[in-house]
């Protein structure tokens, strides 16, 4: 005899049997019914007569449900994106403006250290590089960019550089008509518009000196002095043993067979004075010796005694004439 569950499936229940079936609690109902369901499933009844359009109809709803489920995720995602855009867009615009402003500021905002005539200055750059500026010199750099990828400065005048070692970030000097690139060295650089030559004296380490006019580069070794003609860009390297290039740092000017006019010019530069020659000097007059750069009176004294001259100082003008 078939049990009530398979009778239910096969529509063979009587009212009395249905009453019986209803007495089973849900747990019993489930387990008994499951058995009947399993039996029915495995009976493999032939259902091929079911019209195609029925399963096709279910399929189209099923496809919609699957795709809708996908869409449900996507709009939520887009919603979040949308809100993110609403919030982030003004933020981006503001930060772009801010960064742009900062950037242009960074580009324009440069540190300038300049010395006037007779002045000297020692500055420490952010990376620890020490620069001693001689008079009438100007060094500039951009603190925001300096020491990021490289250490770039612009320079004119004369200075002694003690560059801190940093192989990752080359120290680069842009000057009139030349470029100097170093990693960590000590050297003296002189590049003045009014001079005929630019000079670099290397004390230690290595530097790469580039003449922009000639588009040529020279690697210097310690105790070499490079001279570049500022008009032509021509370079020449000489061995230099004495300390002429660093004399200014010891408050000295060293002259060796220097024409008297160049000595006068040097004094004018260093002390910021005008010198008027009140006698016709012999163009063959030369001067050899060391003059200090921090005591005008003693300089004048040296000039007076070595050349038998008389210097008279009124304000900033010095008249030099033959001693009586």
């Amino acid at each position: 005899m078939k049990n009530l569950y398979s009778k239910y499936i096969n529509n063979q229940l009587t009212v009395a049997e249905l009453e019986e079936l209803r007495k089973d609690n849900p747990q019993k109902f489930s387990s008994e019914m499951e058995e009947a369901l399993n039996e029915e499933w495995n009976a493999d009844e032939d259902y091929s007569q079911i019209p195609d359009d029925v399963v096709a109809g279910i399929k189209s709803r099923l496809d919609k449900a699957i795709d809708k489920k996908r869409r449900v995720i996507v709009p939520l995602y887009y919603k979040v994106l949308g809100w993110a855009a609403v919030i982030l867009l003004p933020l981006f615009i503001l930060s772009t403006l801010y960064i742009y402003k900062e950037h242009t500021q960074a580009v324009s905002e440069e540190m300038v250290v300049a010395t006037a005539t007779g002045e000297k200055a020692t500055i420490t750059l952010p990376d620890g590089t020490l620069v001693t500026l001689n008079s009438n010199s100007r060094l500039s750099y951009t603190p925001k960019v300096y020491n990021k990828d490289n250490r770039q400065i612009s320079f004119s005048g004369e200075a002694y550089f003690n560059v801190a070692k940093d192989k990752e970030r080359p120290f680069m000097i842009d000057a009139r008509g030349l470029k100097v690139q170093v990693l960590g060295t000590k050297f003296n650089l002189l590049v003045r518009k009014e001079d005929k030559n630019a000079e670099l004296f290397l004390e230690s380490g290595k530097v790469l000196f580039t003449s922009l006019l000639k588009r040529e580069s020279v690697v210097l070794s310690p105790n070499q002095k490079l001279t570049m003609n500022q008009m032509t860009g021509e370079m020449s390297v000489m061995k230099e043993t004495d300390n002429m290039a660093s004399a200014w740092r010891r408050n000295e000017m060293i002259f060796r067979n220097a024409p008297f006019e160049s000595v006068v010019k040097a004094i004018e530069n260093v002390y910021g004075v005008r010198i008027r020659m009140e006698y016709k000097s012999d163009s063959m007059d030369v001067f050899t010796g060391t003059l200090v750069t921090n005591d005008l009176n003693s300089v004048l004294e040296v000039i007076e005694t070595t050349n038998n001259l008389k210097a008279t100082k009124t304000n900033n003008i010095i008249s030099i004439g033959k001693a009586k």
Binding site: N11, M33, L37, N38, V55
Partner: protein, 196 residues
């Protein structure tokens, strides 16, 4: 032949596991009629069967990554459909309208005037049509209590009637219905009358 089928089904499962909609469609084509026929037989009405088939395949799609390779589509479909069907059966067995159906079916079987079988679904259709002839309140009360399984109390609230009125209307309506469908020639007449 059998081997080939098993092999291709294993392939379909591994493709489905990887998210192939194509494999899913093939599985649907292979099994949908069988599952639908099965669900129809058990739930005894087309709407439920369609819903269950849709739910079962949707579930299959959503759990595709978790399918074990050694499983067969056949066993998977049974496992998934089982829970939907159990729920449907339990509600069916405990519904008033199903009792009415069994009652009616039993009478029909013992009546030699008619074809001794009526599908539950046709029975439902018949009831609905017969109900059209009832007064509005009785129709509503029967609709809500018998077909939608509301309690008398809920129906009373919904229709703003007293519970006693609902009970009275229900018994009047059912009496009328029983008279209507108890008489088979009249029933046939009704069917003819109300069929589109």
């Amino acid at each position: 032949m059998i081997n080939a089928k098993i092999k291709s089904e294993a392939e379909l499962i591994s493709e489905l596991k990887l998210g192939s909609r194509d494999a899913f469609n093939k599985i649907y084509a292979m099994y949908s009629k069988r599952l639908y026929g099965y669900c129809l037989k058990i739930s005894k009405n087309r709407e439920d069967a369609e819903e269950i088939v849709q739910d079962v395949f949707l579930r299959l799609w959503n759990m595709k990554e978790d399918i074990r390779q050694e499983e067969t589509v056949r066993s998977l479909l049974f496992i998934i459909s089982k829970n939907y069907l159990l729920k449907s059966c339990y509600n069916q067995v405990h519904s008033q309208i199903f009792e009415d159906y069994v009652d009616y079916e039993e009478k029909l079987r013992n009546d030699d005037r008619a074809d001794s079988k009526i599908e539950y679904e046709d029975f439902l259709k018949m009831i609905r049509q017969a109900m059209q002839t009832l007064p509005e309140t009785q129709k509503k009360v029967i609709e809500l209590t018998r077909l939608k399984q509301y309690s008398v109390q809920e129906v009373a609230e919904q229709l703003s009637l007293s519970e006693q009125t609902v009970r009275n209307q229900l018994s009047l309506g059912l009496k009328a219905l029983r008279t209507l469908i108890g008489d088979i020639p009249l029933l046939l007449l009704l069917l003819v009358k109300y069929l589109p």
